[in-house]
């Protein structure tokens, strides 16, 4: 018999009596009086920067020092940022190893944890989003939700595909619990909240 059938048979034989799936819709999850304020606070708490954009997106980007000094820039937001890499023409994800700055659009932002839902990341060339030294994430103010339950009710992962929650810059505390920003991925993460 195959390993698959052996394992499934063993699990069937061992299965406990049926237990019902609880009704998740009945959960009253945390809500915040001011979504934007709570989201911005959460982004800062996870080591990121949050900017409420009131002028143009371009100006807001230019105010980020790492953007201003970046040489190689990738933008997944068409027409935004002075992108000088055409992802469609990149045939090898390794070619993105020297990206300095990457701009990612987020479909959703979650107030309770500062996480942004990233579905547009470059597909076969999503390595740019992880190899980049610095990140900016752009999310619309009307795309903020209170908690992850609301978030999952509104997002889907494309199949086949890849999507992620991104919450702040890459970090580690593996050496004596000291928090260090910039482990393997982005050294900074600026979240730009654009008006509705």
């Amino acid at each position: 018999m195959s390993a698959r059938d052996d394992i499934l048979r063993a699990l069937r034989a061992a299965a406990p009596a049926p237990a019902p799936l609880p009704d998740l819709a009945r959960l009253k999850a945390v809500q915040y009086p001011d979504l934007r304020e709570r989201f911005a606070k959460s982004v800062v708490e996870v080591g990121g920067r949050c900017v409420l954009v009131d002028g143009t997106l371009e100006d807001a980007l230019r105010a980020i020092p790492e953007y201003a000094s970046a040489r190689k820039v990738v933008s997944l937001l068409p027409g935004v940022g002075r992108a000088n890499v055409d992802l469609a023409s990149v045939s090898d994800p390794h070619d993105l190893q020297d990206v300095d700055f990457c701009v990612l659009p987020a479909e959703l932002g979650v107030a309770e944890n500062g996480a942004c839902w990233i579905v547009q990341h470059g597909g076969p060339n999503r390595s740019g989003a992880f190899l980049t030294q610095h990140l900016a994430v752009v999310v619309r103010a009307d795309a903020l939700v209170h908690n992850l339950h609301e978030a999952y009710a509104r997002v889907t992962v494309p199949s086949p595909g890849f999507a992620m929650w991104l919450s702040g810059p890459s970090k580690t505390a593996d050496i004596e619990q000291a928090l260090v920003i910039g482990a393997h991925g982005a050294r900074s993460c600026t979240v730009l909240v654009t008006p509705t």
Binding site: A13, A115, P160
Partner: protein
């Protein structure tokens, strides 16, 4: 003395270091408490998580089949392994067929459990653990001492010395930021040179066929977005029914583990990148046997947050290596005896049964009850040392007879301090009262 007691003895011999470890781990427990305080529905979330897992375990084969169908539809190939050896053969086979000799790995306790690294290295594959803590212990050729913070037992000076030797950092450098920067540079080269990436799995979602991997460093993402092959290894118990259920666990996991509201990267892999391959290896390795045992099956709900270790007074003062297994602490002590009851018979005794593990567990595993159940079972199977069995027998006999209890009480008040007792090696026995409680009670309540 059990192996755990012996190894713990070595750890506590260095008192300042033991206290430092205790404080470092307790610091994380405190961060968990703070994070929890911001979620008013925390206790309800724990109950929901526990119920979702109970439901999923009761229908595990159905969910695994649903997951397999959906993963295959998304373009992933699903493999099944009955045990560690089969898992290692499958992974090595995939690498061999594709001529892979350089593999980057993000954290996977399952592959630690299966000793995959040793297997692959014996076959000429270079395996680089890319989580910083894992890389540190890999350089030292030792297992992780903690499932979330693998190098929590080491001081920054020791890591500095290690990096000086392995990465050529300046001698005497011990600043965590500079050491991390050195590791970043070293690991970038490894990521860029890798021919395949292997990850663990935090959650596998049945209704979508996707796997979810949580990291703070971004190492799982670099390891899977550069090379053309992604291998994800998971135990059968990683299943959750749907994205809605996943939300419950993601809210609990990072808060319980490190006090963060969510990890930096929570990546949902649904099939391979265009032009790449994705393989998922589903492993039993004794889990179906645990599922069959009613008193222990709740341990399969575990989401590996390590909160039970961080809170455990024994773990904090004896260190993860004293357990001698991949997963240490209370959860490790209830899982390990399933693998080898004789070898790990000491672990269920490495606890004060204070119940703090049960109190913090995000999926409400009845950990201290399981530890106690194991003690009974190990004793019944004759796997508890003779002296412990004799003491328990005598104790039970005495406590069942009032007259014997009185005589023994008197004897112990006189002889107790003189009996050689390993317990008093690091502690002082309080002075013995001159009279029994019963005698004192009589005087105070009914004075004559």
């Amino acid at each position: 003395m059990s192996e755990h007691s012996q190894r713990a003895g070595g750890f506590v011999a260095d008192q300042p270091r033991m206290h430092w470890h205790d404080q470092a781990v307790w610091f994380v427990r405190n961060k968990r408490d703070i994070a929890r305080s911001f979620v008013p529905e925390w206790e309800e979330l724990r109950s929901l998580a526990s119920q979702i897992k109970a439901h999923t375990l009761s229908r595990l084969p159905d969910y695994l089949e649903e997951f397999e169908r959906n993963a295959a539809a998304a373009g992933a190939r699903v493999h099944w392994a009955r045990d560690a050896a089969e898992h290692n053969r499958i992974v090595h086979g995939l690498l061999r067929e594709r001529g892979v000799t350089r593999l980057v790995k993000s954290k996977s306790m399952l592959t630690e459990e299966c000793h995959l690294n040793e297997h692959l290295e014996a076959h000429g594959v270079e395996v680089v653990d890319t989580d910083l803590g894992e890389r540190i212990v890999q350089f030292r050729r030792e297992p992780p001492s903690h499932i979330v913070m693998p190098a929590i037992h080491l001081k920054k000076e020791e890591i500095g010395e290690l990096f000086h030797e392995k990465l050529g950092t300046p001698a005497g450098l011990s600043d965590p930021t500079q050491l991390t920067e050195a590791a970043r540079g070293h690991m970038r080269e490894k990521f860029l040179a890798a021919q395949a990436g292997l990850t663990g799995v935090n959650f596998a979602v049945a209704s979508t066929g996707g796997v979810v991997v949580c990291t703070n460093e971004g190492n799982a993402d670099l390891g899977t977005s550069l090379p053309p092959i992604h291998i994800a290894c998971m135990g059968v118990e990683k299943m959750v029914p749907s994205p809605e259920a996943l939300a419950v666990f993601l809210r609990l996991l990072a808060r319980s583990a490190t006090g963060q509201p969510i990890t930096t990267y929570t990546s949902h892999f649904q099939g391979p990148r265009p032009g790449a391959e994705m393989h998922i290896v589903i492993v039993d390795n004794g889990r179906s046997r645990i599922l069959a045992r009613e008193e222990y099956r709740n341990s399969l709900k575990c989401i590996r947050c390590a909160a039970c270790m961080n809170t455990c007074p024994v773990y904090r003062r004896s260190g993860g290596h004293s357990y001698g297994v991949t997963v240490a602490g209370p959860i490790g002590s209830v899982l390990a005896p399933h693998i080898d009851p004789k070898k790990h018979a000491g672990l269920p005794f490495a606890s004060t049964l204070c119940g703090s593990c049960t109190d913090v567990c995000p999926v409400r595993i009845d950990l201290h009850h399981q530890l106690l159940a194991w003690r009974g079972e190990l004793a019944a199977r004759g796997l508890v040392p003779l002296h412990k069995r004799i003491v328990s027998r005598v104790g039970a006999w005495v406590l069942a007879r009032t007259w014997a209890y009185r005589i023994f009480g008197k004897l112990l008040r006189v002889l107790g301090p003189r009996i050689p007792n390993p317990w008093t090696r690091q502690r002082e026995l309080p002075p013995m009262p001159r009279e029994s409680f019963r005698a004192q009670w009589k005087k105070r309540v009914r004075p004559r």
